[in-house]
């Protein structure tokens, strides 16, 4: 999807992708995470749209002059596509964060880099533990009158780092305990190990993968030939679609809305079965 968004710069394409992605996001968690990001997203987009025409003076259709520099329609359009593009990237990553939870992460990475994946998973598990310990250490420090919130800069930094240092000495020994426990359960022994996986590819998945890959190729090919793109510099190109544009548009639409389609089908089945 990211690649698609980078390939096309026609505003209609980008707006469609963005809307579909927002719907996909809402289908994950009813847009809870999206709402958190919304202020950043909108501020960034408006800034880009407003700033670009004033910085870049390429283009031929001059709207007005600002302090002797020409402000062009083309630069304005470019700002809009830029903003849409960045919004798309952010929304994709919000979805990505929601979907890729620990289990799936481990599953994907353990295929290629088993040891690294194990380390990442362990570190992710340690983080909440460390946070709890930091709070405990902070409570003790507060009783002893060492504070992070009052005092001059240097003492605050020193107290904060002391907290981390106590955490380090506290936790290092425990790593050895963890190791012993892992050894007791047979980690690192020779021989074949089996592992529990929750996810697997069946025939249906492969078929869909092929279909999606085919559509993707179509999009790439179309994009290479210049369909789905709008000429911005030096002069704003025409808005209309040719029929190949429509084909590219449809395949892009299917790819982007694929998660929605799957989720929606499940929802309907669930509703109907009651």
């Amino acid at each position: 999807m990211l690649t698609l968004a980078m390939y096309f710069n026609h505003p209609i394409f980008l707006v469609t992708i963005l809307l579909l992605l927002i719907f996909v996001n809402i289908s994950h968690d009813r847009g809870k995470d999206l709402r958190k990001w919304l202020p950043t997203l909108s501020i960034m987009s408006t800034l880009i749209i407003l700033i670009n025409p004033f910085l870049v003076s390429r283009g031929t259709t001059i709207l007005f002059y600002f302090r002797g520099k020409q402000v062009t329609l083309e630069a304005f359009m470019y700002g809009i596509t830029m903003a849409l593009f960045i919004a798309i990237i952010l929304v994709v990553f919000i979805s990505f964060n929601l979907i890729l939870n620990g289990n799936r992460f481990l599953y994907i990475f353990s295929k290629i880099l088993p040891r690294i994946a194990l380390m990442i998973m362990m570190a992710i598990r340690f983080v909440p533990l460390m946070k709890r310990r930091l709070n405990e250490i902070g409570d003790v420090q507060r009783l002893r009158g060492m504070s992070m919130t009052v005092g001059d800069f240097k003492t605050r930094v020193r107290n904060g780092m002391l907290r981390v240092q106590i955490l380090l000495t506290w936790s290092l020994e425990e790593a050895i305990h963890v190791t012993n426990s892992m050894k007791a359960r047979g980690y690192g022994t020779e021989g074949k190990k089996s592992s529990y996986t929750l996810y697997f590819m069946d025939k249906r998945d492969w078929v869909w993968l092929f279909i999606l890959a085919g559509l993707m190729m179509l999009c790439f090919y179309g994009g290479r030939l210049g369909y789905g793109q709008m000429i911005i510099y030096p002069e704003l190109g025409p808005w209309q679609f040719f029929w190949i544009d429509w084909i590219v548009f449809c395949s892009m639409f299917i790819i982007t809305s694929f998660p929605l389609f799957i989720e929606g089908r499940e929802k309907i089945r669930w509703k109907l079965s009651i």
Partner: protein, 242 residues
């Protein structure tokens, strides 16, 4: 082992393909291209780690250090643009060597972003922190860890290099309307942030590096962790350790 070799070959092939794609097909998607190249480079380090024989406890210690590096910014939430993650990574590189430094740096970026949000900046962050840890490990071989002046200037310089590397992702994602003014603008606007990073590195190193290095060194000696293979024959040691 075999699997690691397959991924080694795969990443080399992908790297060559990326170069070919750029050179022959005149490919202009710079953000993807740069991410691909960074991924391939980091893959080599990860694969080296996969192929190495290593003790279980070393994996656990590295994981713990990653978690500490990631969580160390929590108490500093009240002090803007002060974060000791770089300090932790440099110290780990100094004590446990270049490879451990790279791993802790790169993976700490992934882990802290798991909680703060991943984005296209993650690979850049991984690369920047990874090379920071790695260069600290290399520094150890040349000058040792005793000299605070050298360590301080090292931390100061890295505060800027880190910021400059992180600026690159913004530059690459806006490569279409690249102008030199744009580049200079980004680097000028990040100056104060980088300066704060550099100064906080210096503060942490001058206040805490001696103690941290002592703590980690003691632990390393006590449990025989991640020792230099030139000092001890690692194979015999390895078997005894397991």
């Amino acid at each position: 082992m075999a699997r690691a070799r397959v991924s080694l070959i795969a990443s080399i092939i992908v790297f060559i393909l990326l170069i070919v794609m750029y050179a022959v097909f005149n490919y202009h998607n710079y953000l993807l291209l740069s991410l691909g190249i960074i991924g391939c480079v980091m893959m080599l380090f990860f694969i080296r780690f996969e192929m190495k024989s290593i003790k279980t406890r070393e994996i656990v210690i590295l994981a713990l250090l990653i978690a500490i590096a990631a969580v160390a910014r929590v108490p500093f939430a009240g002090l803007p643009s002060v974060q000791p993650t770089s300090f932790v990574i440099i110290t780990v590189g100094l004590v446990f060597g270049a490879e451990s430094g790279f791993l802790v740096g790169a993976l700490a970026a992934i882990v802290s972003n798991m909680f703060l949000g991943q984005g296209p900046w993650t690979p850049w962050q991984m690369f920047a922190w990874g090379t920071m840890g790695m260069s600290a490990g290399l520094l150890r071989h040349f000058i040792g860890v005793g000299n605070l002046w050298i360590l301080n200037s090292f931390g100061f310089v890295w505060g800027f290099i880190f910021g400059w590397m992180m600026n690159l992702w913004i530059v690459f994602s806006n490569m279409h309307n690249f102008t030199w003014e744009f580049l200079v603008g980004i680097y000028v606007s990040s100056f104060y942030h980088d300066l704060a990073h550099a100064i906080s590195n210096v503060i942490f190193i001058s206040l805490f590096s001696v103690r941290w290095i002592r703590i980690l060194n003691r632990f390393k000696k006590k449990h025989g962790l991640l020792e230099d293979p030139t000092i001890k024959p690692s194979i015999a040691y390895e078997k005894a350790g397991k």
